[in-house]
């Protein structure tokens, strides 16, 4: 069937089987390989895209569901001139990327979160990203990146809500001597 939808702001029409996965349609038919497959079962979040601004797993969504809808993938996040989105800048600046395989899905989930809640607290970030697995970073820098992108300057300090968990005073965190000679 012909599937017509808006993809990263562009009118798009693709001939596809109705039962094709959206993930395959994006990757194979449109060459948008930034959306990754990690599990194929909607469990890891690597294939997260935005469908009418809602984060969904493209690996468990049928292509027919795209008809007339608006899709955003990681390829649509940076500006047309190549300028990075604040989330992308923040992920780099905070070191929230290691292998980078989960990163596109993570950024899409974070983008959906910030669209609804421009000033999320840590609990909201946890909730918003709880469907996205990362095996490399331990997640702390991802939380910091989302806070940074939302305008919080939490660098080096405990995030709001962390005080209860850690009992550490804000700003105390890195004082143990993380890295002599650090310059930012």
């Amino acid at each position: 069937m012909l599937i017509e939808f808006i993809c990263n702001g562009k009118s798009t029409a693709v001939e596809a089987r109705a039962d094709m996965r959206v993930l395959d349609l994006l990757r194979d038919s449109l060459g948008l390989t930034g959306t990754k497959e990690g599990c194929g079962r909607g469990e890891c979040g690597a294939c997260t895209i935005l469908l009418d601004d809602e984060p969904v797993n493209a690996c468990i969504l049928y292509a027919a569901k795209l008809q007339g809808r608006r899709v955003e993938t990681i390829e649509g996040v940076a500006g047309k001139d190549g300028s990075l989105h604040p989330l992308q800048e923040a992920f780099l600046e905070e070191g929230a990327v290691q292998c980078g395989y989960c990163t596109p899905g993570m950024i899409m989930s974070a983008k959906a979160l910030l669209a609804k809640n421009p000033r999320p607290d840590v609990a909201a970030i946890e909730e918003g990203l709880s469907g996205n697995f990362c095996r490399c970073t331990g997640y702390a820098k991802i939380v910091k990146a989302v806070l940074r992108a939302s305008g919080e300057e939490m660098r080096g300090g405990a995030a709001p809500g962390e005080e209860m968990r850690g009992g550490a005073a804000p700003g105390e965190e890195m004082r143990g001597g993380a890295a002599p000679g650090v310059t930012t």
Binding site: T33, G38, R41, C44, C99, G100, R135, K141, A178
Partner: protein, 761 residues
Amino acid sequence: MSGENLRVVGTRVRKVDGVELVTGRAKFTGDMKFPGMAYGYAARASVPAARIKGIDTAAAEAEEGVLLVLKGGDIPGPNIIGILPPFDQPVLATEVIRYAGESFALVVAESPEAAKRGARVVKIDLEPLAPILTIDESLAEGARPIHPQGNVTYAKKLVKGDVEKGFTEADLVVEGTFETSHQEHGYIEPEAVCAVPSSDGRVTVYASCQSPFHLRGHIAANLGVGAASVRVVQAYTGGSFGGKDDVATEIGTLAAVAARRLDRPVMIAHEREESIIGSNLRHASRIAIATAAKKDGTIVARRIRILLDGGAYASESPFVTVKTLVHVAGPYRIPHLHVESTTVYTNKTYSGACRGFGVPQATFASESNIDELARRLGMDPLAIRLKNALKAGDANATGQTYEGSVGLVQTINAIEERRSRLAPLPRNDERWLYGRGVACLLQGISNGAEGVDVVGASVQVSQDGSALVSVGLADMGQGARTVCAQIASEVLGISLPMVTARQVDTDSVHDSGPTVASRTTTVGGQAVKLAATEVRKSLVAMAARMFKVDESLVVLQNDFAMLSVDANARIPLRDVATAAYWTGYPLMNLAFSKAPDAVFDHETHQGNVYIAYNYGTHLFDIRVDKHTGRVEVLRHLACHDVGKVINPMGLEGQIEGGSLFGFGLAHMEEVLFRDGRIINANFADYALPSIKDRLPTEAMAVEDPNPTGPYGAKGVGEPPVAGAAAAFANAVADATGIRFRRLPITRQEILLALKAKPGEE
């Protein structure tokens, strides 16, 4: 270029390969497309042990879109992979099935779907065997041998001093047996390779892998061609943690054989379930420890027996056996040791390298036992560790001494200093039990006992003053390219944006062995430094001629050559590089870094094994919900002696990520088997830590420079796993008053133990 005035090394820099990752532009193997590409999918055994009577591929070959079905006999070479002797693992099983999930045929088709359909209808005629699923069954008298040579994969001893004498001299002995379960690597990108044949008879394999030179060797051998006919290019790799080694050689070989047969590119990309059942796991372990000590807490002797469940094939079991053997006594000064370490075969998915390589298992057992000793003596757990801590000049478990870079005491002191400023833990109440646990660890850096440690690197500077860096070790996400770029930038005075550090291409650098043992920064970084230093000589010589001064007055920095006596006298490096080129000065160097050889007695494991160790101390504060068993981590301090921090942000990332990996092992993750089949081969049933499980890690570093690493650096990729796992277990024991002797210590285990505890309802 000694430690003074470093401008790039030691600074917090973004990943050099970060932009393509955050924009989705980076091409991972599965993202690649080549004209005429076909797809491979393996047919796998559904039983753990059987003799193969026949394999019938007719139905698969008749399936629409199927191009080729490979069986083991179709592999031109020996149909064997395996990184070490005994080289016991077939690419495709031909005679015996040794684990559920083992591949016995590969179907290649026009589409992934057709390949999968074909794989489903490959028929295999099996004569089932009673599976051997535990260490005890494997070692039982008269047990069926899983391999012709028996069920012991590898066994080694470490003997230091006179352990009997040590036990006789002791005031007390504390004993315990500890177990750990199989852990899955859980990288988010499943394994993938793509083999592309070319008209000159060569084949290029793009791979998500950890050790490109292993792939090259295995693929060539199984193709029956020289290694020079195979080129392996590391693609962006979505994590590895030890897991993309054997399996990448397996699918790399299959893709290459199919690609040559069809003269078409062939992609094999694993699904998640295949990634779990069909590639190596972390060894499960059982470790029995007896520690003999004096009343003042001085440890005099330890007697330790390690048993590792290595699953169906050797993989890296021989090395894991030895690494566990050498590390299990811990970072302590102990005169008398007797350690035995044995890995056995079982009919389960094979175990091999997994971040930490036996050290997390060993550290959990050892540090739990040390904690019990402290409790028996009424000593503070940090104090007893400090009392026995290795210092420079002390003989470690293998009798090796180091003149420096033994920073354990500094890490203990850093944690102690931090602890002394903390408010005491709250008192237990109706709901919460509070506890604090600490653990110390060491982790050998470099291949050490695992053989020669060489790395090749190249640095070339172009006439425009940009630099290209290539090293033979892979970046799997850990930040190796960034570290190597920083080192080249530091040496050459070329700013980081002008430095490109590429992924491994086996055509371009010396065989550098595997990317393992937290050695990339240490040994690989040294190779980059050597190569850059050679190229620097040309730039300095050229600049000196241009300035008409002595070379000693030339400084290279910020893309300029300048005079040390007058920073205003400067020439752009691109002009220097251009002049150097036209003058005929070499602007490229291929360097080769070789770590000092390990020299030790193979019977006793006494001698010099590793070029350096990373030392660390971790502390956990937790609270446990009495009613549900739920654990909340209130604080996690992780301090490591890394010699020298190259990129603070990368270091924190390694400590934070490695710690959560260890926390998963200790609290959440376990590969579950029923009748020899893995029953949780997906992320719904296998509990990978999520963002809600993350730790409040405070990453701390001490820098006790390592003379064998660049700028004094030592690796840190693996060590945090062991520290976090062991300290967590000790915190749970402190909170609950119950010593848990098996990992993972799940919420359910805690709840059951609390209910069973005398005095509780």
